[in-house]
């Protein structure tokens, strides 16, 4: 999975591309750690528009990000949900844990 990060002011967008699964662990962590260190960032958006697969370890990574962001006083939003990704996140009721944007 490729991750392109856009940081503008208080907002950071992580644009994910490809399969988000166990193998994405290292890349995803280093991407969000960079964002976590930036004090000016208050809002982290994870963009799933280009993600075609999501497994349970990806859900685990999102939970880990959520915990870290909460501790740092940052908000995490999920965006661009479609297809299988949307379905998996809905079954897990992640809408109750994260802000979800269109």
């Amino acid at each position: 999975m490729q991750i392109a990060t856009d940081m503008t002011g208080s907002r950071a967008v992580l644009n994910l591309n490809g399969r988000f699964d166990f193998h994405s662990h290292r890349d995803f962590r280093s991407a969000y750690e960079k964002v976590m260190e930036a004090a000016e960032v208050r809002d982290i958006e994870i963009n799933f528009r280009q993600v075609d697969y999501l497994d349970s370890s990806a859900l685990g990574m999102l939970l880990l990000l959520r915990e870290k962001a909460e501790a740092a006083g940052k908000n995490v939003a999920l965006a661009g949900l479609q297809g299988m990704v949307k379905q998996v996140l809905e079954i897990a009721n992640f809408g109750k844990l994260f802000t979800v944007r269109d």
């Binding site: 166990f22 349970s56 370890s57 859900l59 685990g60 990574m61 939970l63 880990l64 959520r66 915990e67 809905e90 079954i91 897990a92 009721n93 992640f94 109750k96 844990l97």
Partner: protein, 594 residues
């Protein structure tokens, strides 16, 4: 232990890091000047030297000294170098020992056959000291690298053996922990196909007191040992709370609390819990993170569906977690189906998922549970086309019957010896404050069944106690009307009202008292329950409720009829806010009679 991960770079080995590697070099040559030259060069570089003067001694020394590198002459008395190498290469070995033929150039044909016999290299005699040194250094580097690689390989083998041992232990413990009589219940069919040695999906089934069947299908994130480890803490809590008669919502809340406390942030367990009450014709479900649970009619149509309404277990803290269940009344028999996402996401070779529709199609093959279950299992197998499943695939099928008349099944109570029997008394009062959050019936039942004489009556006493207590709470304190339950969809409305009103309950109390004593040479338990509510017109409602008939059930409610059938006597008093009943425990016999 951490294994070397794939892609890790093994060759950060630069030449200079390997020059300190001390070799044992076998020199086989029958010409003393040749031996001398090699020996001087090798020893000047710090290597150890072993000398053989013919092929046979070279073969012997190779076996006894296990050298790292061999210089082999070709023409030697007795066994020649080529024959010696052929023998050496026929020896069983785990390490690679390079052999360099050191021979005169005019014997080129010999050199070729030497390499074919298993030699690795050749040097033309006479070679300069410089060339010999460079050759030895080059092989020293390769040998050192090979040593490192072999070290990694050995470590990997050790690690794999350790991991296999852990897996074996894990599988054993898992199978012991998860095996339960409930899984062999006649209503229950299930399968659990692991993606690895054993599954991270967990299936549990058990009867609660009063014959209600509880099942749980849990799917821990990931699969294999790590996943199984996450799901393991669920079994004990599920079985012990089910056995004590706790409501489903309380069980789910406890499971979540347990997992939240012990799992790291990125681990969680999707779960579906179901409570099937054949007597009251209800199915109650909590689904957090699993695919839809559904109720299939005998005709193969989906009559009810319970999608995931909650995040999986182990994520939310107690305060934010909801154990809210959905209860549905069923009018026709059918099959309740629960599954993990491994079932709907089972992939064939082309990458197509079985899907929920695929599952339903397979189940529509027959009208009875047994055949349907076989169809599903075979269908999954056919879909996977012999490929191993990528995720654990598990499924519960509970065949739910309609029983026109339900009689609670008793086992004949054992006789009690007079000398073993003593009176026992318990009085308890719960006020609104406690009633809002305590599960009174399982708690009280736990106290009551601690008494030896009452232990085997857990089922019957649970039914009597929960019926009488729930009447006191629902009608006495919460003012709910049973008639609501008879409307279409009324049961759900009733349950919702109950939750809402209980949360707001701010006054009133319920008192329970139990007296175990002797009456006409029998052991009897008198139970009385009194609530602070307004009561009801019991004379009108109970004119004739002594016989358990379908007509009476409709008029007086199944519950009261059941209490009447279980107790010798049921008496309402006060304004109808007080009920007393006598439950016969067993006959008392004198000691010499037994």
């Amino acid at each position: 232990m951490v294994p070397p991960t794939s892609g890790q770079v093994l060759s950060v080995l630069k030449p200079e890091s390997l020059t300190g590697y001390r070799l044992k070099i076998l020199i086989a040559d029958d010409t003393p000047t040749n031996v001398k030259q090699l020996q001087v060069v090798a020893q000047s570089m710090g290597h150890q030297v072993v000398v053989a003067v013919d092929g046979l001694s070279a073969l012997e020394l190779f076996q006894s000294e296990a050298p790292d590198l061999v210089f082999m002459d070709i023409m030697m008395p007795g066994m020649d170098g080529i024959t010696a190498v052929r023998h050496i290469r026929a020896l069983p070995t785990e390490k690679w020992t390079p052999i360099i033929f050191y021979s005169a150039l005019d014997r080129m044909q010999d050199i070729v056959s030497g390499l074919e016999a298993g030699g690795d290299d050749y040097l033309a005699k006479p070679a300069s000291t410089q060339l010999l040194k460079a050759k030895i250094n080059s092989y020293a580097r390769q040998i050192a690298l090979q040593g490192k690689v072999r070290g990694y390989a050995e470590e990997l083998v050790r690690w794999r053996e350790e991991s296999e041992e852990q897996t074996r232990l894990g599988a054993y413990v898992m199978s012991r922990l998860t095996d339960a009589a409930g899984l062999r219940d006649q209503m229950v069919h299930s399968f659990n196909l692991p993606a690895e040695t054993f599954s991270g999906d967990l299936l549990c089934a058990a009867r609660a007191p009063g014959d209600v069947l509880n099942v749980m299908l849990a799917d821990a994130a990931g699969h294999g040992l790590a996943a199984a480890l996450s799901a393991m803490p669920l079994t004990q809590a599920f079985y012990s709370m089910t056995a004590k008669g706790f409501p489903l919502a309380s069980i789910v809340e406890e499971l979540n609390r347990k997992l939240k406390a012990i799992l790291p942030a990125d681990r969680f367990v999707a779960a579906t819990l179901a409570s099937i009450d054949v007597r009251n014709r209800t199915v109650e479900i909590w689904n957090g993170g699993n695919p839809d649970a559904f109720f299939l009619s005998t005709q193969g149509e989906i009559v009810m569906r319970w999608p995931s309404r909650h995040p999986p277990l182990g994520i939310l803290p107690e305060k934010l977690f909801s154990g809210l269940t959905e209860t549905v009344v069923f009018q026709e028999p059918g099959d309740l189906v629960l599954s993990s996402d491994g079932l709907t996401e089972a992939e064939n070779k082309a990458g197509a998922w079985l899907g929920i529709d695929g599952v339903i199609n397979l189940l529509a093959c027959a009208e009875d549970t047994e055949t349907r279950f076989k169809c599903l299992l075979q269908g999954v197998d056919a879909h996977l086309q012999g490929e191993p499943a990528r995720d654990d695939v598990s499924c519960f099928m509970v065949s739910v019957p309609i029983e026109r008349r339900q009689q609670f099944r008793f086992t004949a109570p054992k006789l009690i010896n007079q000398s073993q029997f003593a009176e026992w008394r318990l009085d308890l009062t719960y006020s609104a404050q406690e009633l809002r959050y305590i599960d009174v019936v399982p708690g009280v039942l736990g106290l009551v069944t601690q008494v030896q004489a009452l232990k085997e009556h857990q089922g019957g006493l649970f039914l009597v106690l929960s019926e009488l207590f729930n009447n006191a709470l629902d009608h006495g304190l919460l003012g709910l009307d049973s008639v609501t339950k008879n409307w279409v969809g009324g049961f759900e409305i009733y349950m919702q009202q109950r939750i809402d009103r209980l949360a707001k309950l701010d006054h009133g109390a319920i008192a329970l008292s139990f007296l175990l004593h002797q009456s006409e040479s029998r052991a009897v338990l008198d139970i009385s329950i009194q609530d602070s509510g307004p009561g009801f017109d019991f004379n009108k409602r109970l004119t004739d409720a002594s016989a358990l008939s379908e007509a009476n059930e409709r008029v007086f409610g199944r519950g009261i009829a059941l209490v009447n059938s279980l107790c010798e006597q049921v008496v309402y008093s006060g304004t109808g806010n007080k009920v007393w009943c006598r439950y016969v425990v067993s006959d008392l016999v004198s000691d010499n009679a037994s």
